[in-house]
């Protein structure tokens, strides 16, 4: 087990001061479900850490609020809280779905949305959804506050734009339009307690006559960083949604994945599977046919 000094922050200011003083040798501890695994493994990424700043008791950073069509999640909101939130289930069901599938009940009771974001695993469950929502990350430091779109905050596998001395305090996004449908599908080696082998987040805004007015498709565990695949979105945008079009968009996303990541050992598996997941997610979000329930899923 990696060894370190520890301070429990009793206020955000205290945390920011400790992080500022610790510089690159300090790190934030929230739920600990990723960090403690890393410490136990003496992970190369955190072996330089000498001071752990525990912000877990800063309850003022755990909230789910809506202010004028903008939904704001405090960074310390647990996955369990998001999954159970009536607001999130009503307004952003695919976020509740993603959070409800992170790890296990025990993990979800401790793991936070801020932590999931800052850990920036390519297979993270909440990130495809947050990217599809075009969420914004609010970051505080002693120098003040800054906001970054989540797509720019994520820089690479396990790499974010978070600088020494900074803490993510909030993740915010616009409430999806009432005529939107969403879907999040995760495939893991098990039905529970698994890391995504592949996932997909889809957000569609439907117009009259089954027209796709707006579409966002973000695969997970498919690209180095969860990102929208605009070439696949183009296949359905502005057109009347059909099963054939959804299938085509799935194929296109699959090809884009290989174009971006190159051929890997997992490609023969991932190509047809991400195509199928994308197709199903588009149809579900577009209200055509829900294949995410039952034995057909």
């Amino acid at each position: 087990m990696h060894k370190f000094d520890y301070v429990k922050a009793r206020s955000l200011e205290e945390a920011l001061t400790a992080l500022y003083q610790g510089g690159e040798k300090a790190c934030v501890l929230a739920g600990g479900t990723d960090l403690l695994v890393g410490f136990r493994a003496e992970d190369a990424r955190i072996r330089h850490i000498e001071l752990v700043v525990d912000i877990g008791d800063l309850t003022e950073l755990a909230y789910i609020r809506e202010e004028a069509e903008t939904i704001a999640l405090g960074a310390l909101t647990t996955h369990a809280a998001v999954a159970a939130s009536p607001l999130i289930r009503e307004a952003v069901p695919f976020l509740a779905a993603a959070c409800s599938q992170v790890g296990s009940p025990q993990i979800r009771n401790r793991g936070t949305v801020g932590g999931n974001l800052c850990n920036a695993s390519p297979a993270a469950d909440t990130l495809p959804v947050l990217v599809a929502l075009e969420a914004e990350v609010v970051i505080r430091s002693l120098a003040g506050e800054r906001k970054v779109p989540v797509s720019r905050f994520l820089k690479g596998p396990h790499k974010t734009d978070l600088q020494p001395g900074e803490v993510v305090t909030e993740i915010r996004f616009d409430r999806p339009h009432p005529r939107s449908g969403s879907s999040f599908i995760k495939l893991g080696r098990r039905k529970a307690m698994s890391i995504a082998r592949l996932s997909i987040a889809a957000l569609l805004k439907m117009g009259d006559g089954g027209l796709v007015e707006e579409v966002r498709l973000v695969p997970g565990a498919a690209l180095p960083v969860p990102a929208r695949v605009t070439a696949a979105e183009e296949v359905v945008r502005g057109k009347k949604l059909t099963r054939e079009l959804a299938r085509e968009a799935g194929e296109k996303l699959s090809q884009e994945m290989v174009r971006i990541t190159g051929q890997r050992w997992s490609t023969p598996y991932k190509m047809p599977v991400i195509a199928a997941l994308t197709r199903r997610a588009i149809l579900t979000a577009g209200g055509l046919e829900d294949v995410t329930a039952g034995s057909e899923a």
Partner: protein, 158 residues
């Protein structure tokens, strides 16, 4: 690295411990408080053998620093027995042969207790979901689910 003086509330009692900062709640429960019912199965939050209840929620004690647990209400398997009388979950597990080697059992029971404390009459699906973070290599889970179902039925008859 300076030692930490921590006040921990476990099973309704307050304990004072002095530990190194990297010590996990699991370590302090077992090594300092000698509450060895909570087991280390994997140490990375994937098996649930270390499940305890912290502020009313099931958590993996291997992923909580002891220092983080200060100020919280912690319940372990040892806290279930009252005045020499076993908890209904413990009795049901025995009646239903819901354990063989017993290694997963404390964590399994704590996950079940956390469920029933919030949802006294869960469906079978809700029970399965509540124990989805607890691995058992011996029983095949059926007896575990039936034991929990029986306790939830008992609650209904109260």
């Amino acid at each position: 690295m300076s030692l930490l003086d921590l006040k921990l509330k476990v099973n309704g009692k307050e304990y004072q411990v002095r530990v190194k900062p990297h010590k996990r709640l699991l370590d302090v429960l077992r090594d300092d408080l000698h509450l060895t019912g909570t087991k280390e199965g994997c140490g990375i939050g994937e098996c649930g053998a270390c499940t305890v209840i912290m502020d009313g929620r099931a958590v993996n004690a291997c992923l909580v620093l002891a220092a983080s647990a200060e100020g919280k209400e912690i319940y372990t398997i040892e806290g279930l027995e009252q005045d020499g009388k076993l908890h209904p979950l413990q009795e049901a597990f025995m009646r239903h042969n819901a354990l063989q080697c017993g290694f997963c059992t404390p964590g399994m029971i704590m996950s079940a207790k956390a469920l029933l404390d919030k949802n006294p009459h869960p469906t079978r699906e809700e029970i399965k979901e509540a124990i989805s973070g607890n691995l058992c290599r011996c029983t095949g889970y059926q007896q575990i689910i039936e034991a929990i179902e029986e306790v939830s039925r008992l609650h209904r008859e109260d």
